[in-house]
Every structure is written in C-alpha cells, then in structure tokens.
C-alpha cells in the first residue's frame, strides 16, 4: 500500500519502505542542540512571516516556542532529572493529531522531539490553509536543520484506512491520539507492540467561572479587556477546542450575576463582530441549536447576538455536556464557586476563571480530588498549551524513567 509522504520526501511512498525508514530514524539525547536550534528557527519563521500573522493561533504557537521559552523548558527538564532516576526518550512516537486544531501536531511534535524521540506524524488529506502553511514552515526548517533533527521526523498523510496506522503502530514505542472519543476508540483497537505505551486526549468539556461582584468592580476598559480574552478562549477554534469555555458560571448574588452577564456578553459580541467574520450558516446553526436547547434543557432566558447566543439555565443538575459549538454559551448563577463541585465530571477539563482568590481555586481542586478538572487557569489562557495537559506532564510522558540503584551519589550531600 502507498501513502502520501509530506516530509522528508514529497510524494507517494510504499508503506513498507516508510516502515524501514522510520525504523532507522534518529533517537537523540533530550534537548539535543540541533533539535533545539530547529525549534527556535521554526518559532522565528512563524513570528516573522506576513502570512502567518493572519492566524492568531500560529502566532501563539510561535510565541510559545520562542527561544527563551525553550530554554525555560530545558531548565525544567533538567530539574526533573535525578541521578538515580534518569529520563530517556521513549523511542519512536506515532502522533495522530486532530484535523481541526491546526497547530496541535506541532505542539505534540515539539515536546516529543525535544525529549529526544523519533517522530511519525499522520495528517489528514483534508487540511486547512493554516495547517498547510505550518507544514511548509516545519518542512523547510527541518530541511535545513542538523542531521539529528532532520532524521528524526516523518510526516505522512492518509485517509481513514487502517493499514497504515497498523504498520506504523507496530514499530512505535509510544502512540499519541489527539481528540475525539470516536477516533480514540477506533484507533485503540489497532494493536501496539506489547512494550509500547499510549497517551490519548479524548473529548473534553470546559467552562469559565466569573465572580460577578469582582467583574462589576472593573472599569470599562478592564471589562472590555476581559471580554477580549474570553473571545480568544472561545472563538479561535469556533468554540470546538476542548479547552474553550461552553458554560459560564456567575458566582455571587442573582442581582450581581444578572448585571454582570448583561454587561459582559455584549462586549464579547462586539469584539467578535469586529475581529471575526460572522458566517450566516453559523447564525442559522446557533438559532436551531438554541431552539433545541430550549426544548431539552432548563432554559429560563435566551439572548441572541450576531456572533453568539446565551442561554440561561436555572440549574446545573444533570447538565448535558453535548454541545454544538460555534458561539453557543450556557450560563448559570451560583452563590459560591464550591457549589459547582458536585456537578463537575471527569470529562471537564479546563476551568478558566476571573476574580477568585487562589485559595478558593486550590480548595476546589482539592475537594474534587481528581474527579474533574485538569487545568484551572485565568480567562485568556484556555488555549495556551503547556507541558501540563489533560492531567499529564508531557515533558515526562514522552520519556521512560530509568532507575539506577546501588550507585554512589555524584555529589556528596
């Protein structure tokens, strides 16, 4: 069988031949100088390029992987190393990124490559403009990179066929599946070598919590700034990224909650209308999904804006996490943040917040005790990717840990 090779070669390649190439790929030392250099180069291209600047998610990626950040990541990695427990690369990692979050494959590749792994990335044959642009940048960068970096990455493209995934799975030491319960369960059926491990990122649900009184204390410009950050969290990926908020919790009295909400959503809409083309099909979609929500959920109020719709719920009991995306926000008022703990579920990933003391957020995480929430971050950082994701530390996830017992300590204590 043939698949499409996108890097290093371009064009059709026989699956068996690809298998041979990948098996002979480089496994580098963590933070190999050549690999770090290539990452810095890619970041600079993203930040410099005129076309890339049109896509905020590409800029965010470029910024996230800039030189100083990579050095910080390296320091963090060094701090993880212990003389009796050494982190080493897993070996060959197969990445199956989601089709519709364009930048995900680079985040996944980056952490894996930095920790020394050899990588195979599968991309969908249907790619967005920004994915193709990113692919071009990455290919050009690796083309000119040191052999250590260049010979540690393969990018291929094929449809929903099982065979290529089967063959590539058979030679990998780790498989990473991004996104979609359906995708995860389909690919999980394909066998891995017995020693290999798997990390999956399934469908998640995310929400925001705002302390209504704190919001109302903000001056006009700060309110607008918060609305802009909430827009970034929600609209970059049409509210379909797993960490984008779909439910807003207003904490405080009913009067405060109503006043804060009445002020907040029009600001989000105004920003959205100015900064993103409102697609007529999405307006129709929102109108239909709002109608269905009114029939199925305890909706007490509905507000329609050109770029979004807000549906007020009387209770979060049995809250249905299915969601149409595209700018539909549920909202609910509670007196205190801790009241949401009983309704949170394993599926709930990111809580973006505004106006709570750290104490209260830590208390929430502690009381949940692993039952829900993997990230609690300020509004504006929902999409900010980091080494801690979905309950994993990705710097360690891409490594094996070698225990070295019975040796003399390097440094006398």
């Amino acid at each position: 069988m043939q698949v499409q090779s996108l890097f290093p070669a371009q064009g059709s390649v026989a699956l068996e031949e690809l298998k041979g190439q990948v098996s002979g790929g480089n496994v580098n030392r963590p933070f190999d100088a050549g690999v770090v250099e290539a990452c810095i180069e890619l970041s600079q291209r993203l930040l410099r390029d005129r076309d890339a600047r049109r896509y905020p998610e590409l800029l965010a990626l470029g910024f996230w992987m800039r030189k100083t950040e990579l050095h910080r990541l390296q320091q963090q990695f060094d701090q993880l190393q212990r003389e009796d427990r050494w982190l080493v690369p897993c070996g060959t990692v197969l990445h199956l990124p989601p089709r519709n979050v364009d930048t995900m494959f680079v985040y996944s590749w980056l952490l894996s490559a930095l920790t020394g792994n050899c990588n195979v990335i599968r991309l969908s044959p249907q790619r967005s403009e920004s994915t193709d642009m990113l692919l071009r940048f990455l290919s050009e960068t690796l083309e000119q990179a040191s052999p250590s970096a260049k010979q540690a990455t393969w990018i291929v493209s094929y449809g929903h066929e099982e065979e290529p995934t089967q063959v590539l799975s058979s030679i990998c030491d780790m498989r990473v599946i991004w996104g979609g319960d359906h995708t995860v369960s389909t690919i999980r059926r394909i066998l891995l070598p017995p020693h290999a491990r798997e990390t999956v990122f399934a469908d998640r649900f995310s929400l925001a919590a705002i302390d209504a009184a704190s919001y109302l204390e903000l001056d006009q410009s700060r309110r607008s700034a918060l609305a802009k950050q909430f827009f970034d969290d929600s609209f970059w990926f049409d509210q379909m990224a797993c960490s984008s908020p779909r439910l807003v919790i207003w904490c405080g009295s009913q009067t405060h909650a109503a006043a804060a909400s009445a002020d907040f959503f029009p600001r989000v809409n105004d920003y959205a209308v100015l900064h993103q083309a409102v697609q007529p099909a999405q307006c129709m979609h929102r109108f239909l999904s709002s109608s269905l929500a009114i029939l199925d959920r305890p909706v007490t109020n509905y507000r329609r804006f050109p770029a979004l719709s807000v549906l007020t719920l009387s209770t979060l009991d049995k809250f249905d996490r299915s969601h149409p995306g595209g700018g539909v926000f549920f909202e609910c008022q509670v007196e205190r943040l801790e009241e949401i703990a009983p309704v949170l579920r394993r599926r709930d990933q990111t809580l973006t917040w505004f106006g709570f003391p750290g104490e209260e957020l830590r208390k929430l995480a502690t009381s949940l005790n692993g039952r829900a929430l993997d990230r609690i971050v300020p509004i504006g950082q929902a999409l900010q990717f980091g080494r801690f994701w979905d309950g994993n530390d990705l710097l360690q996830s891409f490594c094996r840990q070698v225990f070295i017992g019975g040796i003399e300590p390097l440094l006398p204590s």
């Binding site: 979050v101 996104g179 697609q279 099909a281 239909l288 595209g326």
Partner: protein
C-alpha cells in the same frame, strides 16, 4: 377574511398592503392556536421571542428554524386526528423533515395548489406528460414528498403519460405517441428540475420534438444543476431553442410548510400568492431587509393548522425584487432564490464530523 376566502380568489389579486393586513390578523391567531395546542411551540417561541404583545408587522411574528422539523415531530392535533405524516425525500445520509397533517390541513393544501395552478393552466384538466417513472408513486407505504407532490399535480392533468422508465431512461415511443395525440393543443409537462433537464431534455435535444404548446411546471431546486453549471436562463433557452417550449414555470416551496407555493412569473421571478409570503432577513441580526438586499428567506403561510409551521426561517438565501410590480399582472412580492447558505465548517479538536453545521 379567512384562508378559505383567500383560496377562492385569484392567487395574485391582493395589493401587498391589504394582503399584509389580512395575513397579520390570521397569522397572529394561528400563533395563538399553536401556542395552545403544541407545548413545544409554546415553549420555544416564548423563549426565542420575548415580547409579550401581539406583532404589529409580519416581521415581528415569531418563527421557527426550518431545521427543527428534522429534529422533532411537532403537532398541534391529537394523535387520532393525524391524517398522515409527510416526510421530505432527503438525500442519503440526511435526516428527513417530518410534518403532521390532519384532514383539514391536507384539504387546504389541495385547494391552495389548485388556486395557483388554475392561474397558469386554466380551469380545464390538460393532457399530462410526467417526467417521472411510474414507480415513484407505486409503493404508497413509502410516501415521500416527491411522490406526494407528484400525486398532487396529477389532479391537474388527464391521460397521464410517464416519460421515464424504472431506470429513469426516456421512454421515447410513449413520448412520441403522447405528442402525436395531444401535441396540437395545450398540454402539461411536470417534473423535478434535475430530472427534467438530465433525463428529458438531454435525450430529446437533437430530435426536433415540438413542445411549443406545452406548459412546463418544475420544482426541486437548482442545487444539482448548479453543480453542472446550468443557470435558469440556460434552462429556458435550451428548451426554447430545441423544442419551442416557452411557457416554463419553476416553483419554490418546501415540505416543511404547506401552502407556500411560489410560482415563477413570466419574468422568471417567484411570486407569493395571497395566502403566503416571504420576508428577507439579515443573517446576523435577523432584521427585515428592504427589497434589493440579499438575506435569509423566511416563509409564511396561512395553511399549517395541524402543526406549527406557519412561519419558518429557511436556510436559503433570497432577495425581494419588487412589491406590487406594475405590468406583470401579479400583485404581491416578487423575489428570487439564490441557493442555500454556504456551509460553515467548524474547527476544534473533538470529532467534528458529527458536529458539522448543516
């Protein structure tokens, strides 16, 4: 004036202002009727449209998204009064729309079609050439909107001749025979736009058949023909040049709203009959747009009594050209349909196929 009164009058006989007065009163009472008899309608419209007072204009009347009929079976009559559930043909993979009809609404639908067809066909039944295979209505248990539409139209014809066989190939001998018997006088041709073009006109193009006494009525939309880059003008021109057929009437309508049968005038624009209307809305704000501006089409009809479909926001784009245009012999709004709103594709990391916008 009630819907029964309107159905007894010529379909394009009311100036828009008079028509709107009648429609507003009747649609307001229909709104209250459905609020009383359909709990889902009452709940959705109460939340979607917060104003408590009655509408002062047609644009202020509550309306439902047409897609709701794909998701729910909405009814304003008790189960034992349901005469039939009409289902849209729906291409493979698409959920069909379903609406409930009682005897009263079904009868109104028949009368509405007669009211409009009489206007272009005259009072007599005409010999009728159907661009269909007899199979489409043979199995009455599988009643699609296409079959129902065909049966409805067959009432206006006699000596029905099916022009296509099971495989939708032209039955040329039968067509020649039909034309030899009836081609010298007025006759009716009916079919779905795509079939009329691909299964009828294509094979007879070079045969020199004379259809100049025919009246062609077709519907079903341009979607498939647009893929082949055939415009309405080319469609008309091709028939005129190769068969001499000039009386061609397309009509716009949808299974979700009985009674909204918008027939083309001689100018190629659609016209709203007295008992139905269209409103063009801004896709973002849903505000009504003036003539000349393109927006989303809302359709209104006085006929749906058995289910709450009297005001529906469609997924089509359209534009109103004129109100009570002079000279055409038809009063009311004239408009064009510009096709479906282009699909939006959502991004995101979950299984987006399932969530893709229709």
């Amino acid at each position: 004036m009630t819907v029964e009164d309107l159905l007894r009058q010529p379909p394009y006989s009311l100036p828009q202002a008079d028509k709107e007065r009648i429609l507003l009163a009747e649609l307001t009472s229909l709104h209250h009727h459905h609020r009383r008899h359909c709990a889902e309608y009452a709940r959705v419209t109460e939340k979607l449209f917060s104003h408590n007072t009655d509408a002062l204009t047609l644009a202020e009347l509550p309306y439902l998204p047409v897609g709701l009929f794909k998701e729910r079976l909405l009814s304003s009559v008790p189960k034992d009064k349901v005469f039939k559930v009409l289902q849209s043909s729906g291409t493979t993979g698409q959920t069909p729309s379903r609406i409930t009809l009682d005897h009263e609404t079904a009868l109104l639908q028949t009368q509405a079609l007669a009211c409009i067809m009489t206007h272009v066909l005259g009072p007599e039944r005409l010999p009728m050439l159907l661009i269909e295979s007899p199979d489409v209505i043979r199995d009455r248990t599988q009643f699609s909107a296409r079959g129902a539409g065909l049966l409805g139209m067959m009432n206006f014809g006699r000596q029905h001749c099916y022009a296509l066989d099971q495989e939708l190939h032209l039955r040329l001998p039968e067509v020649r025979d039909f034309l030899a018997r009836f081609g010298k006088g007025k006759f009716l041709i009916f079919g779905f736009t795509y079939l009329v073009w691909s299964a009828f006109l294509e094979p007879i193009r070079s045969l020199g058949l004379d259809l100049s006494n025919g009246i062609l009525i077709h519907s079903g939309g341009w979607k498939k023909l647009q893929e082949q880059a055939v415009t309405a003008e080319e469609f008309r021109a091709a028939f005129r040049q190769t068969t001499g057929l000039t009386r061609i009437y397309n009509f716009y309508g949808m299974v979700e709203q009985v009674g909204s049968i918008f027939l083309e005038g001689d100018d190629g624009n659609f016209y709203a009959p007295t008992f139905a209307d269209v409103i063009i809305r801004d896709p973002q704000t849903f505000e009504e747009l003036p003539p000349g501006q393109t927006g989303v089409v809302e359709v209104l009809s006085l006929l749906p009594r058995s289910y709450p479909g009297q005001a529906l926001l469609t997924e089509d784009l359209g534009v109103v050209h004129a109100i009570d245009p002079p000279g055409g012999g038809r009063l009311g709004k004239s408009f064009s349909i510009l096709g479906r709103i282009p699909r939006a594709e959502l991004r995101g990391c979950s299984d987006v196929i399932a969530a893709q916008v229709n």
